[in-house]
Each structure stands twice: as C-alpha cells, then as structure tokens.
C-alpha cells in the first residue's frame, strides 16, 4: 500500500516537472517570436530612402545628418533581429514615435526599418501587400538615426 502511494507520488511529481518544462519551452518560443521586430521589404517604401539620398533639394538634410556619403546601393531592409529590437526599443522609448506606432495597429500600415552603411531610416507606410497600388497623401514623418543610435533627425516628406 505504502509502495503504491510512493510510486503514484513519484509519477505525479514527474508529471508536474514535465508540464513545467513544456510550459517553459512554449514561453521561451513565444518570447522569441514576439521580440522579433523586423518587418519585410516593400518596393514602394524603399523609394522613400532613395529619395532622401538622391533628391537635390534634400541635400541640405543629408548634410545636416552627415549622410552625404550614403549610397542607394547600400539601402537594405534591416534583417538582424537584435538591430530591429533595438530600433523598436528606440521607438517605444520616444512618446511621439510610440504614439504613431500604436496608432497604426490594425490598419494597412506598418513600421519600416531600412539601413545604409552608417544610418537607419525609420518610417511608417502601407504594408508590402499594397505594393501594387501606390496611394497619395500628405507628408508624413521620416526619421534618420545614426547607426549607434546616438542621434536622430525628424523630417516630413
């Protein structure tokens, strides 16, 4: 009788430990998914970075930021999870940027993180699935950030 109870207790303990382990595994997996802030490339969104780097009347802004040496060929969507998370934290720690980011939840827009060799470019635009149909609209925020996140500049283009 005593042996049976002891065995039952042992199975019960093993069951609990196994459940806890499974829960932990799920939790870690969920966290890993949740913290990946990278977003996919958009053909139309990428043009905004290209405009910043090439349009003659934006030379003054390139000089202001020190981005005069950045090239169109360097433009790429940020894919490094750590960088995306850092940029997302940067956005979340700024009240204005955080407001924008929260205001587009459940809309056709998303945040974009692009980069060149020495800068990141953050802005909000329509999701890549709308790349087949450009939309008009007034100017919106375009943020240029030094790649060590030490400095940033806000423009409306």
């Amino acid at each position: 009788m005593w042996i049976l109870k002891h065995r039952q207790m042992r199975y019960f303990k093993r069951g609990i430990i196994l459940s806890v382990l499974i829960l932990c595994a799920f939790e870690m997996s969920a966290q890993r998914t949740a913290v990946n802030s990278c977003t996919s490339n958009s053909r139309l969104a990428r043009y905004r970075v290209e405009f910043f780097l090439t349009l003659p009347d934006r030379k003054v802004f390139r000089e202001e930021t020190g981005a005069t040496g950045e090239k169109v060929e360097q433009i790429a969507i940020v894919q490094d999870e750590n960088v995306c998370n850092s940029l997302q934290n940067f956005i979340s720690n700024n009240r204005k940027f955080k407001n924008i980011d929260q205001s587009i939840i459940d809309t056709d827009k998303q945040i974009y993180f692009y980069k060149t060799d020495n800068f990141y470019y953050v802005f909000w635009g329509r999701k890549p699935e709308f790349d087949d149909r450009p939309a008009t609209g007034p100017k919106t925020l375009f943020i240029v950030i030094k790649n060590d996140l030490s400095q940033f500049w806000e423009y409306y283009f």
């Binding site: 349009l55 204005k96 924008i100 205001s103 087949d132 008009t136 007034p138 925020l141 283009f157």
Partner: protein, 271 residues
C-alpha cells in the same frame, strides 16, 4: 403667351385672382461645360393664383408650366455625379458667385493665368473647382475629419484638357486616395497628368485626421507618396512627361519626373 394661358385657366376656376410679377436673371449656356460662355438673360413673368373663393386651398390657379424658362446655369454645370453627394443639388448663385456645395454661394475664384497650359485651361479650372468642392475644404472652419482628398487623371482631348475623376473604387479619406488593385486598367488614354487635393490649409494641425504621423503644422506641397504614385504611373505607361498636381487651401503645386526638384508653385486659382 403661355402666362396668358395660365391666367385664362385661373379664370375658369376662380373669380378672385392675385397676380405676382417675377423678374428672374438666368443664364443661357451654349456649351454647358464652359461656364464663362454663359450669357445672362433677364426674364419677367407673371403668375396668378386664386384667393379664397374656390375652397381648394388657395393653390396656384393653373398648372405650373415653366418649360419656357431657361434652366439656371449652375443647375446645369455644377451637377457632377463623380463629386456631388447623392440627393443634393447645388444652390443657384448670383453672377460672380458660385456654389460652395453647402447650400451657400461664395465669390467666383480668380481665373488662372499661370503660364501653365494645363492650369490655364478653363475646363481644368472648372474641374479644379469640382475637386476642391468635393474635398469639402472650402474653409478652414470645416472639421478636418470631414474633408476628403479628391482627384483624377488629366487627359488631353480635342486640343484641350479635361479631368477624368477617379471612380468611387478609389478610396478617399482626408489624408489619402487609395486606388484599387486594378488601378492601372482604369487609366484613360491621352493622359498627361494626375491631380489631387490635400484638403488642408498651411499651418493646420493634421494629427487628428491623419493619425499620429501627421504634421503638427501642414507644410503644403506634394509628399513622398505623391511622388511614388507619379513614379509608378510613369513607369507603367513608359511616359516620363506626365505631371502631378496638388491643390490645397493655399497653392497649386506641379511636379514631374524630378519629383521635389521639379516643384513649381502657383497661386491658388480656378477654385
């Protein structure tokens, strides 16, 4: 005389007649699409109605028959299915005034004399007025979330220009026009440009209607999305002579393949 007939009819139904003489200024428009060609015409007519003896409620003695009256010009030229909300009719305005689309009249805007062939076209100016009226931004007092971007394709036709308004499948809000996925199939032939409104005035805070990424002080001018729209349009058609136009509460802006480097500003005119 038809008004004489009306009196005769009235006499048949009533012994007491009251007659009122109306003087009405109307406009005859040989070409309804060109309002400046309308000719003012003053017409005097008399309506008579019975006063009490028939017991029929004192209505007009004869059947109303005003077919001979020319239609007021605004009733002809300002009805535009693309922009007028269903169930509304524009008001009839005095000479020198135009409907504000809200039941009132506002002074007729200055005509364009910009040196830009498209903007200086009377047809285009009439279309700009329709676009701006449809934007519901005739004054800064109108709540911004009640305004709409409006626009259309500019085409060359019969040696002149015209606007083919974007169909209803182009979704509008105060901060953008979003075309349907088949938008390229809807581009008319002979396109030379596209025009749309930003229904704001310089300095307005657009954070409300445009969301948190809007401007705290509207700057005016075309935006990156406007350039990207033009770029996609030009690339699709293989035509890099197409121009973009933005109209807002303060100015008209034109731009081309040089995007922001090719912007030209014009004083507001035609709307």
């Amino acid at each position: 005389m038809r008004d004489g007939e009306a009196v005769t009819n009235s006499n048949e139904r009533s012994t007491n007649l009251t007659c009122i003489t109306y003087t009405m200024t109307s406009y005859i428009c040989p070409d309804p699409s060109r309002p400046s060609y309308c000719v003012p015409t003053t017409i005097t007519f008399t309506d008579c109605f019975s006063t009490g003896s028939t017991g029929s409620g004192g209505g007009f003695g004869g059947p109303a028959d005003h077919n001979w009256q020319p239609l007021p010009k605004r009733a002809i030229i300002e009805v535009d299915n693309a922009l007028d909300p269903p169930g509304t009719l524009p008001s009839v305005c005095e000479p020198g005034m135009v409907s504000d689309r809200n039941g009132g009249c506002v002074p007729k805007p200055d005509p364009c004399d910009t040196g830009n062939n498209i903007l200086d076209s009377e047809e285009i100016q009439s279309d700009l007025l329709k676009i701006w009226s449809g934007s519901n931004a005739s004054s800064g007092d109108i709540p911004m979330d009640e305004r709409l971007e409006q626009g259309g394709w500019i085409i060359e036709i019969n040696g002149g220009y015209d606007v083919v308004f974007f169909p209803p499948t182009f979704l509008r809000d105060p901060c953008g026009i979003s075309p349907p996925s088949n938008w390229k199939d809807l581009i008319p032939d002979n396109i030379v440009g596209y025009v749309h409104s930003h229904p704001f005035y310089i300095g307005e805070n657009t954070l409300g209607p445009c969301g948190a990424e809007g401007e705290t002080s509207y700057e005016g001018g075309p935006s990156d999305p406007d350039y990207i729209f033009l770029m996609d349009l030009m690339n699709f058609l293989g035509n890099f002579n197409i121009a973009g136009y933005v109209i807002d509460g303060g100015k008209i802006y034109s731009y081309d393949f040089r995007y922001s480097a090719g912007i030209k500003e014009y004083n507001r005119c035609g709307y």
